[in-house]
């Protein structure tokens, strides 16, 4: 159980490409910390700096209570799953997994046991004698994962460790990893691009964009109270609908176009302010009559069924919005529909994209029971 602290960390590649800028962050001991962000935003770079594989251009890194900015990786006592696996081509799966275990003071039998245990857990038991080259992509990834898990280091870094696995195995792995992390009290820093992973596993998560922190917090808080448009659109699939509107002081309405406006909301705007209305697709409902507040008329553009749910793209005048319903209820394109935006689910962002009610929205419904 070790804490990881980043202070004013900056990373520049080749003294020019800024990959990570001015990161301040404390990851608590035993925390499951997830890093998400678009491709190329600097997630791997951050992980590699924590591991000591990239030099830190500026700033200070502390692991446990010690400054580790310049500590060599082998002294940091951590394990890592590399995005591209980094398996030893000349070693068998078993040897790959057991690699380095002797440095933990394990004897041969313990190493073998540990190795078999982990292999069992990751479904690799029957591949122990193979070389990496003889494995499928997902199997290789599991070997990489197994190696990190087997070392049972107090800090573990994982870079998209499940990206090549199928949903079922992935679900299984998720629970195994989570379980293990709790059992061993590991501090786990986990990069993923899979929202389900992020949402279900993270104690806290961080959203990164262009090397800058966008928001850090509990997954649900971030889902419900995105700090800005980027986060709002990044988290959640399909993403939150963002509709531009103008506040009309006279009518106290948010005008989307001449015919469409929101009338009911609890936020004060400045006159003629440009506002972005945000609402998640699953929060929009199809309304039978259009006299309920915040009901807008639109035309179905496209509708598709994804097994257990239906996604419908509705044109609201100049803008489009996605509606997500559970069940399989296909609409035909061109059909006229009315959609309503429940007041409690609406988010507002200013023209810079920052949330206008990040603080206000505390009371969001999280019903227990």
């Amino acid at each position: 159980m070790k804490k990881v602290e980043l202070q004013n960390i900056v990373k520049r590649y080749d003294n020019q490409h800024l990959a990570v800028s001015d990161i301040n962050l404390t990851i608590e001991p035993g925390e499951f910390f997830v890093l998400v962000g678009p491709s190329g935003c600097g997630k791997s770079t951050m992980l590699r700096m924590i591991a000591g594989l990239e030099t830190i251009t500026e700033g200070e890194l502390r692991i446990g209570e010690k400054t580790a900015t310049h500590l060599p990786p082998s002294k940091r006592d951590l394990s890592m799953v590399f995005q591209n696996y980094a398996l030893y081509p000349h070693l068998t799966v078993e040897q790959n997994i057991a690699f380095g275990l002797h440095t933990k003071g394990l004897n041969k039998i313990e190493r073998k046991n540990r190795c078999e245990e982990v292999a069992e857990m990751l479904g690799l038991a029957s591949y122990l004698k193979r070389k990496p080259k003889q494995l499928s992509g997902g199997q290789r990834q599991r070997v990489a994962l197994a190696r990190a898990i087997a070392s049972q280091s107090p800090i573990c870094l994982m870079d998209e460790p499940l990206s090549n696995l199928d949903a079922k195995l992935r679900a299984h792995m998720r629970s195994e990893i989570k379980h293990l992390q709790q059992k061993l009290g590991m501090t786990l820093i986990y990069v993923t691009h899979d929202q389900v992973e992020a949402m279900t596993m993270a104690d806290r998560m961080m959203i990164l964009k262009d090397g800058k922190i966008q928001q850090v917090g509990k997954p649900l808080d971030i889902y419900n109270r995105p700090a800005n448009r980027f986060v709002a659109e990044f988290i959640g699939t399909p993403p939150m609908n963002i509709l531009p509107a103008v506040y009309d002081k006279g009518s106290n309405q948010l005008l989307i176009d001449e015919q469409r406006a929101l009338t009911s909301f609890s936020h004060d705007f400045k006159a003629d302010m440009d506002v972005f209305i945000g609402i998640r697709p699953e929060h929009i409902t199809f309304a039978s009559e259009d006299d309920t507040p915040n009901t807008l008329r639109g035309i179905v553009y496209h509708s598709e069924i994804l097994g257990n749910e239906t996604i419908t793209d509705v044109e609201l005048g100049p803008v489009k919005c996605l509606v997500r319903q559970s069940g399989q209820q296909l609409f035909s394109p061109g059909q006229e529909v009315a959609v309503s935006f429940p007041e409690e689910y609406i988010q507002f962002f200013d023209s810079n994209g920052d949330s206008l009610q990040a603080k206000r929205n505390e009371g969001n419904k999280v019903r227990v029971g």
Partner: protein, 270 residues
Amino acid sequence: MRIVKSIIVYSLLLVSASLILFPIVYTLMVSFMTGGEVLQGHFLPEHMTLENYRSAFQKVPLLHYLVNSFIVSLVVMVGQLIVSSLAAFAFVFIPFKGRNAMFLLFLSTMMIPWEATMIPNFITVSNFGWINTIAGLTVPFFALAFGTFLLRQNFKTIPKELDEATQIAGMNRFQFFIRVVLPISKTSLVSLGAYGFLTTWNMYLWPLLVTNNDKVRTIQIGLKEMQSQEVATQWGVVMAAVIIVILPTLILLFAGQKQLQKGLMDGALK
């Protein structure tokens, strides 16, 4: 389509092989000839005679020399592999200041014709009391800029992720060297080993200098002992000896190939 291709490849292979092998085949033929036949310019011996082989073994203690050569070559090979791989490892995986300059310094030693160093080295070795010893025959060749260069080129192709993964595993550099770098570079180690072995095997002047008796003398001296300067040389015998000398090296190469192939099968990166 495939058949046409393999026919072309095979015929190219055969042509190249016969061109390259011709001198060796000729040597083999000469080794079965009598002196007159050699000088009369025959290609095929009139009657195959093993007389030359018999007298080759008789004139010079070939077997004893072969054993010496084998030991000396083996020691040099191992010494070179150890010393060169350590150095190459430093040049590739330890980012120390001045390493490029140091590397050029190493390389510069390759440019020194060894004839220039021979006499001073002979004096050094005799001062060390290494005359007539395996040490005198081997130690001066342990450090090999060429080998360092060869291994450096190969180490450079090892993905850096493997280094990183090893560091993360908490292993130190030396363990990385032993457990990852060396096994992965099997191919070049075998190449360098073959090179070291064969060059040592083929050395003549140095062993001649630092040995004074048959005890540690090597096979190339034996070859030379079969030739005379003013008096006619029995070329059939010499060629028989050449064949005897080539044979172990060819066997070694063949075994090395097999080993190499096997190493490539499972050592190949990616």
